[in-house]
Amino acid sequence: MVKDSCIAGCIWLIPALPLLGAAFNCLLGRRVGNLLVGIIGCGSIGLSAVLSLFIFNTFLALPVEQRRIEVNLYNWIPSGDFSAPLTLLLDPLSMVMAAMVSGVSFLIHVYSTGYMRKDESFARYFFYLNLFVFFMLLLVLAGNFLVLYIGWEGVGLCSYLLISFWYERESAARAGLKAFVVTRFGDFFFLLGIFLIFVNFGTIHFGSVFEKAPEVLSTTTATWIALLIFAGAIGKSAQVPLHTWLPDAMEAPTPVSALIHAATMVTAGVYLVARCYTIFELSPIATHTVGIVGLATAFISATVALVHNDIKRILAYSTVSQLGHMFLGLGVGAPGAAIFHLLTHAFAKALLFLGAGAVIHALHEEMDIKRMGALKQYIPATFWTFTIGALAMSGIPGFAGFFSKDAILHATFVHGGVLVWLMILLTASFTGFYTFRIVFLAFFGEKRWDVHVERPIGVMTVPLAALAFLAIAGGYMGVPHALGGMDKIGGFLAPVFSSHNPAEPAEGGAQAPEILLMVMSAIAAFGGIGTAYYFYMTPQGKEAPNRLRQRVAPIYELLSNAWYFDRVYQAVFVEPFMKAAGFFWEAVDSSVIDNAVRGVANSFLGGGSIVPKLQIGAVRWYALFMVLGITVMLGYVFLLM
């Protein structure tokens, strides 16, 4: 009990510390100099990370049934029977997320002090970044839907601010706006989902909602709620068809891409669906939709990633694809696996992005992998860590991504069917291919650049190393039973997905297929990597990509235009909207309505101009009409009545 209250007392500090940091950097940042800004910025997050790890530790010591702590800070919006208190909830799911978010954020903050050290808006950058961490922690620690929504919108806002960070670039401003509007489109549905929840349950508190959900909701209502929530997740987590903002979001400084657009914010959708899993389970349609969207996203964006040359865009599409994996996991009834993949992906992808950042930094803002090469000799630390990240990402046995992806693949095989499994297997080989395409093109081969290499400084290398460690070790949280592990993470998270039992310790007979599946996925990954090696490392394969490109020209066109999503949206939504706006303003507002008003005004003016025209003067007519008026009134009163 003591531990309980101790935790309850300091939960609020986890998000509050970054907020303080943000406030400091906002108000005083420009005055105090970069050193202090950096210290405050990283320090606040660092403290928060230490605190959450400490709480995690205490939390683990609690008995399972007590692992659910709620704190009411104050009643935020009380209105009649509606109330939205600022509630923080600590349960295994939010604990894991909070620890991951604060930890990864801390590493990226440290990295940023090096990466951004020459930027003149250093303080602004750390203000946004701290604010982001605050909102993200609020999102994962939220105890009801509205608090989650604050965090949800807040991270979207910070994402917008950070994408547009280099606002003088027209493309950055455009990408920021696009990201905000597209995700807000998703938020709109999410908000409707919250309303629907409130209308049905009379509360938006997580505990009460999920507890009552099976009794209260009919399948139809559950479907509606689940789909609306999922629409929010689609926007935020960049799933097809709302994924188009994420590649453009790469206009942000690279550490931001690592933090927001790979490790944390974009995974919020996965977190949300996992959080509401009880509702999703009530509706097969919703669950299937989640799975299908996840699968489609995973596949489509993996294919697009194959042909791009911009290092950050490849990683962005890779992120979208991996998020698709997570949703697939959710859709096939393996939320634990999805969250596990979320964690390992966060480590690996943050590592890849930071590595890419170091590469870009080294080559002075060069992002085209065709103009890199042979960097292994120049920045070896980056090379090694990047490769570890790439291995983890591709799902090579022994690295983090392997275990988590395997968990999803297994669930897919069991619940989704062979066809889905094959598709995702293909995607896995694509993943191996495009990740190592970067590795081979950027770090090996001949030198295709001629600038002075800027080596990453210490504060940039240390986070890389730390993340590399996590990208290897992170997987051992959830070694599956089939390999003789304990699946610690699955067990830890299980109470959250109450009605759902995580992969039971498999029967002796069932272990064999699982291991077989693992072998298959490892083969697929190696196949992808091997193809990349053949294409980019061997002299024989050099011409292969070009030949392939010519052979399947239409498909290549399709892929390099990212399946034409952007163009279609431009033609179907953006342009008609702008035209409508112009039409309504000029044709309706300025013509129809205004002319009606002007007509009234002119009729008065016209009427008014007749009287004075009868004679030259006006004053005496006023007098005459005054008297006439009185006369008529008197006449009415005295003569007629």
Binding site: G617, V619, R620, A623
Partner: protein, 100 residues
């Protein structure tokens, strides 16, 4: 027997003559005088009715009306002086400044 009606008719007549003059005359100074006539006509009616009802409020009202009349004449005449200096006429028909 003189009834209140007699005085009221007298007051009305005075008022009416004022109105008539106000509409017919063109000299601004005379117009002001016509206003005085109207005020006096109203005053007669007031005082007559006042005697009828036995309350003094009507007389007080007439007193205030006189004050107003004095004010009006003072300001009005000084305005007329000003207008005359600027426009060199007192004919209302030629003063069309109020025209829009």
């Amino acid at each position: 027997m003189v009834t209140t009606s007699h005085y009221l008719i007298l007051g009305s007549a005075l008022f009416g003559i004022g109105v008539l003059g106000f509409l017919m005359k063109r000299n601004v100074i005379v117009l002001l005088m016509c206003v005085e006539l109207m005020i006096n006509g109203a005053g007669v009616s007031f005082v007559a009715l006042c005697r009828q009802t036995g309350s003094l409020e009507g007389q007080v009202f007439v007193l205030f009306a006189m004050v107003i009349a004095a004010v009006e004449i003072a300001v009005g005449l000084s305005l007329i002086l000003l207008i005359f200096r600027n426009r060199a006429t007192l004919d209302v028909d030629k003063l069309e400044v109020l025209k829009w």
